[in-house]
């Protein structure tokens, strides 16, 4: 990965990874069940200010968020063309009904996609898998067998990428590279499966030989929860409350069930 893509050091580094996940849930849940442009726009604004305040650079935010920026207008267009009709009709052709209502929906959906996507991307950026595992097991008390198994397995993924590449080159070397792509893929998938199971079981044996899964275990490193975590949670609740209150105040509040 090139340098420019690496996660920058931000104030979020002082927060436990599981708190980041909690914060992402807190800000997105109320936004998932409401649909209006004011709360969306407010949230996007708050996230931008918060991201800059936390220490994310403008360049980094743009690079990470652009897939969402690209996606939002697409979701909006769909809504404009096919959204629930209502109010003045602007275009009416076959299944397409562009109305006041559908346009309002389109704007709201575009802002929703941004308001949901941006905080999630920025909060999950640069979480170290090891630290996350520490947090999941010690703070959230998920079973160690599951968390550490997943963490150790995660490391094998890079090996699997190399394996797949070698498998592809070997198919070319064996004279199977010219035709029969489906058959070739099948032989690669089978070999990959066998190799993955072998590697996985060797790793499991190595873990077992170090006493994994026998009984109670200790943790070499504390997964700390402290003031920064409390601050992030409080700020997330505040942010989402402000967004909803703004919507109610502006009279645009619209829950999806209403």
């Amino acid at each position: 990965m090139s340098l420019s893509n690496r996660a920058p050091h931000t104030l979020l580094d002082r927060v436990n990874p599981v708190t980041r996940i909690a914060a992402a849930v807190i800000v997105s849940l109320p936004l998932l069940v409401t649909l209006d442009w004011v709360s969306g726009a407010t949230m996007v604004g708050i996230v931008l200010v918060a991201a800059l305040a936390l220490g994310f650079g403008v360049g980094f935010i743009t690079r990470r968020v652009w897939p969402v920026l690209a996606l939002a207008p697409l979701a909006g267009l769909n809504m404009a063309l096919y959204g629930k009709p209502g109010g003045a009709v602007h275009v009416d052709w076959f299944l397409v009904h562009v109305t006041d209502n559908s346009l309002r929906l389109a704007v709201a959906v575009m802002l929703r996609v941004l308001a949901l996507g941006m905080p999630a991307i920025l909060l999950f950026t640069g979480i170290d898998p090891t630290d996350l595992a520490d947090g999941l097991a010690q703070v959230w008390r998920l079973p160690a067998r599951f968390v550490l198994g997943a963490l150790a397995g995660f490391r094998l993924i890079t090996r699997f990428v190399d394996d797949w590449r070698s498998l592809a080159l070997a198919r070319r070397a064996r004279g199977l590279g010219d035709t029969g792509a489906v058959r070739r893929w099948a032989t690669m998938a089978f070999a990959m499966l066998v190799i993955a199971i072998r590697r996985g079981s060797k790793l499991a044996t190595a873990m077992e030989a170090r006493g994994f899964g026998t009984s109670r275990r200790t943790w070499a490193r504390e997964s700390p929860i402290g003031r920064p975590d409390a601050v992030l949670v409080v700020c997330s609740v505040l942010a989402v409350t402000i967004a909803l209150v703004a919507a109610v105040g502006a009279g645009t509040f619209w829950a999806v069930w209403s």
């Binding site: 090891t130 394996d163 070319r172 030989a209 170090r210 275990r217 943790w219 070499a220």
Partner: protein, 519 residues
């Protein structure tokens, strides 16, 4: 730390779902502080025994036990026993050096404030002077094995079990690990059991040799000198490298003709355009000779071999095959490429092949394309450039051994009768006739290696590339391989081997290329 005592009485183990016992009727005692080298034919159950002593064979779900096996009079358990296995990659558990060593201590529920001092001590003992948060992905094979050793050691085991700990390492790595183990057992406070067919490496360290029989039981047991003088030939035949009994092969007289069959100029190699592995200014592979390619870990030996073999397109520069071995036809294909803007360099996307017609082909361009192996059709490689991959499993595509050998010949459209004849001949040559109907993935390490070489021999390529062909092989397979390669050379084939193996270099280093380490 207190050294452990091992006791086996008529012990045996049968893996769940298998008809045959992996080990039967082994009775022996290992006294505290003894250092034992465990030998035996492949399939005699050495690894099974070691895993049992490590306490990782599992419960009755995973197999059936006969007799008894105890460590200090108890069922073996991880912690009291420490195990280091063969594959450096498969036993690195966590992403940071410190965490990896601490892993066993956490599992043994060692209090947090004791963990880190023990981690630091263990790392110092194996001579790994690295920061605790150093990435385990950036370690060499020798460093990884020492890390695994530190992980076992931190648990303060009374019994240290090493299962071919150096089989997959280059000579420097072997020395690092051997020296680290030597320091650890120096005070006789650890009982040591090593499985390894490179006996010479461990000879000075062990005071007892145990030989398991393939059919069950112990065939020899005693001080090294005694066992090796009484059973030398027998052990050599089992595949062990017995001190004093070499491979018995002599280098052939290389031919004098040295016209290059392949040459490279101003080459930049790598898998992805934005991540070049290294550059090579100029290089020739002389025809009809054996070229050996050496270099430190990560110096790009494998990448270079794959590039010369026409499997990876060069990122820049040229690989040129001699016109004599290049395909003659006017129609050729190329690897699908994505032109990297403005640099005019190429990145490989997949091994998909497409007909090469999107550029106007002027005569010099056409000639250059004809002699560039990366642009040949996959089928054209079969009789020209053959490649034996480091991991045989990467190149298996069929469901039986016989089919595996036939596939290249079928791709060439050879008549069925000819294919059958050639396959039978190869099976015999590779000692695989008995296994003709077996699935390639179920073979032993040595059998897989021989089969992977056989798949390339089948279509008689003009140039044969071998990536670490002797890695982890026992003496019998080693000798088989060197004989096969020598026979190919005698038949006029050009051979290029990536290797670390000193004996192999002595016999086959007719033309030697050493890649300097990259900074």
């Amino acid at each position: 730390m207190r050294p452990a005592q091992v006791r086996l009485d008529g012990w045996g183990w049968r893996h769940a779902g298998r008809a045959a016992w992996a080990v039967t009727s082994v009775s022996l005692r290992i006294e505290p502080g003894e250092r034992v080298l465990l030998l035996g034919a492949s399939g005699a159950g050495k690894s099974t025994l070691l895993h049992a002593l490590a306490g990782v064979l599992g419960t009755s779900d995973e197999g059936e036990q006969a007799g008894s096996l105890t460590v200090d009079g108890e069922r073996p358990r991880p912690g009291r026993s420490g195990l280091v296995m063969q594959d450096p990659d498969a036993q690195t558990i966590l992403a940071r050096v410190g965490d990896d060593v601490a892993f066993g201590l956490e599992n043994l529920a060692v209090p947090r404030d004791e963990i880190w001092p023990r981690v630091r001590t263990a790392l110092a003992e194996v001579g790994l002077d690295l920061p605790l948060d150093h990435s385990t992905a950036r370690l060499s094979g020798g460093q990884r094995q020492r890390l695994a050793l530190a992980g076992a050691l931190a648990m303060r085991p009374g019994l240290l079990l090493l299962d071919e700990p150096t089989a997959n390492l280059d000579p420097d790595g072997v020395e690092e690990v051997r020296d680290a183990v030597g320091r650890l057992v120096d005070d006789r406070q650890t009982t040591l059991v090593i499985v390894e067919h490179r006996i010479e490496t461990w000879l000075a360290l062990v005071d007892r040799v145990l030989v398991l029989a393939a059919g069950g039981g112990v065939v020899a047991d005693g001080p090294p000198e005694q066992v090796f003088s009484a059973h030398a030939e027998e052990l050599a035949a089992l595949g062990a490298w017995v001190p004093g009994i070499g491979h018995g092969l002599v280098p052939r007289v290389p031919p004098t003709s040295r016209d290059a069959v392949l040459s490279a100029h101003d080459l930049t190699i790598g898998y992805e355009a934005d991540r070049p592995v290294r550059t090579v200014t100029a290089l020739d592979i002389p025809g009809g000779m054996s070229t050996t390619l050496t270099g430190a870990n990560g110096s790009g030996k494998t990448t270079l071999a794959l590039t010369l073999a026409g499997l990876l397109p060069a990122l820049s520069g040229h690989v040129e095959a001699s016109p004599a071995i290049s395909p003659a036809g006017p129609r050729f294909t190329m690897l699908s490429r994505r032109v990297v803007a403005s640099h005019g360099r190429f990145a490989m996307r997949s091994d998909e092949t497409t007909t090469y017609h999107d550029e106007p082909v002027t005569p010099p361009n056409r000639e250059a394309a004809r002699t560039d192996p990366a642009r040949w059709r996959s089928k054209d490689l079969l009789t020209r450039l053959g490649t034996v991959f480091q991991d045989p499993e990467h190149q298996f595509v069929a469901t039986t051994v016989a089919d595996e050998l036939a596939i290249g010949l079928r791709a060439l459209g050879r008549p069925a009768a000819e294919i059958a004849e050639r396959v039978a001949e190869l099976l015999d040559q590779l000692h695989l006739t008995r296994l003709a109907r077996a699935n390639p993935f179920t073979l032993s390490g040595g059998e897989k290696r021989r089969l992977s070489v056989g798949t390339v021999l089948a279509t008689s390529p003009a140039v044969m590339f071998l990536d670490e062909p002797t890695f982890g092989q026992d003496r019998r397979t080693w000798i088989d391989l060197v004989r096969l390669v020598t026979a190919q050379l005698e038949a006029g084939t050009t051979v290029v081997s990536v290797t670390h193996d000193r004996d192999y270099l002595d016999l086959l280093g007719e033309h030697h290329i050493h890649l300097e380490a990259l900074s």
